[in-house]
Symmetry: C2
Subunit: 207 residues, 2 copies
DNA sequence: TATATCATGTAATCGGTTACATGATTAA
DNA sequence: TTAATCATGTAACCGATTACATGATATA
């Protein structure tokens, strides 16, 4: 079997360009951190790599935007080839998710942990996940002001959502559903962390 | 800062040796697939790499077990240096979990998906996650018969769990808690998949 | 004064996956 | 007869992270 020329992260960047309209690598990094953090993470260096890859594939094109006293912005937009690639990707089966959570390993081997050390790790995770939950609840939907909606934007160009006043008014239902995912998963995780912390603290007591 | 000489996967293998007693690389791979799948995955090649790494660190030692008509088994056991490393790891802060789920990317950019393609992916994920749930419910606890419990096993060697009849009788509480994690997360995921599938099918109807 | 933001890239490293390699036994 | 299981490893590749590199402006 041939190696694929693109990867999930590639389509993450491509999807953002299709969804939000033309923007720079820097903008994409911001959006990745704000919108895609519950699904996929990326360092800025990787985003620039993917943009390079996609230019070679003719999935995106670049226009230089000159600025005084700052480095020029390179604004990328999706091409029709890119649009087709995005749809093609949607037709392919998705790789099933594999968790890689170090905290779970530490809990699994909790027998070998000083209880206070494990409790400390659980509390740290609680803080982190509660912060995430707050952020998701505050609304992943709100689009950062920097990125303008161009004519390539989802609202005018979606090939599959019918154009009605309802869909025009409402926030994107898929984005809403992703936000919901992030929220319910964080809630479940947090509840479990509380349970686990209680368990660890009880073991601590009985010593 | 220095690069660490070991990684989560390293401690996954080390933890299994501490928890279950001495075993071969092949056994470890089986256990990884059966016990650690909700936390971390590993190819067999990587497990052999980690064993090599840990031998160099003196965290494990190897004894050859000769067999007729089959390749010799190399049985690894944790050393006292390894025990110390495992405890040291528990004292270090854990990296916070980052999700990388391709299906979520596809849902996020669902506007660009032919509805039937997205629905198909959601149904495939439902089957997969429901199978996982069944497996987790059936009991991750049940230890495969191949691996014997040696004297290095958790029940006799846990430095932090007091030796009582209660803990002796009960399954390991940490393992139970991991099983619980796997179950509640799968349940939440599945519920969300149903919701999302319904949404996608309704959009489909309105066309 | 010092950190954060804006803005784009390259280089080095490495964990993790896939493919390659071998070969006997056993169950469908 | 085909595939799975037992059993261990090496080699190639690559996605992803970290560090290196530059430099102006604005805010604390």
């Amino acid at each position: 079997m041939e190696r694929p020329e693109a990867y999930p992260i590639t389509y993450g960047v491509l999807g953002l360009l299709a969804f939000m309209g033309p923007m720079s690598g820097y903008d994409i990094k911001q959006l990745f951190d704000h919108m895609l953090s519950p699904m996929w993470g990326a360092a800025h260096s990787q985003i620039y790599n993917e943009l390079k890859r996609m230019r070679e594939l003719d999935w995106v094109e670049m226009q230089r935007e000159e600025q005084e006293a700052r480095p020029d912005r390179k604004v990328y937009s999706i091409t029709s080839t890119g649009q087709a690639a995005l749809i093609e990707w949607q037709k392919q089966p998705a790789e099933v998710h594999q968790i890689r959570d170090e905290l779970l390993l530490k809990v699994m081997f909790g027998t070998f942990a000083p209880p206070e050390a494990l409790a400390e790790n659980l509390r740290k995770a609680l803080v982190e996940h509660e912060m995430r939950l707050i952020n998701y609840r505050a609304g992943l939907q709100s689009i950062p002001p920097r990125v303008q909606q161009g004519e390539n934007t989802r609202r005018g160009k979606s090939p599959y959502l019918p154009y009605t006043e309802a869909t025009e008014q409402a926030a994107d239902p898929f984005l809403a559903q992703i936000t919901r995912f992030a929220i319910v998963m964080e809630e479940t995780y947090i509840k479990w962390l509380h349970e686990t912390l209680e368990m660890v603290e009880h073991v601590d007591d009985s010593c």
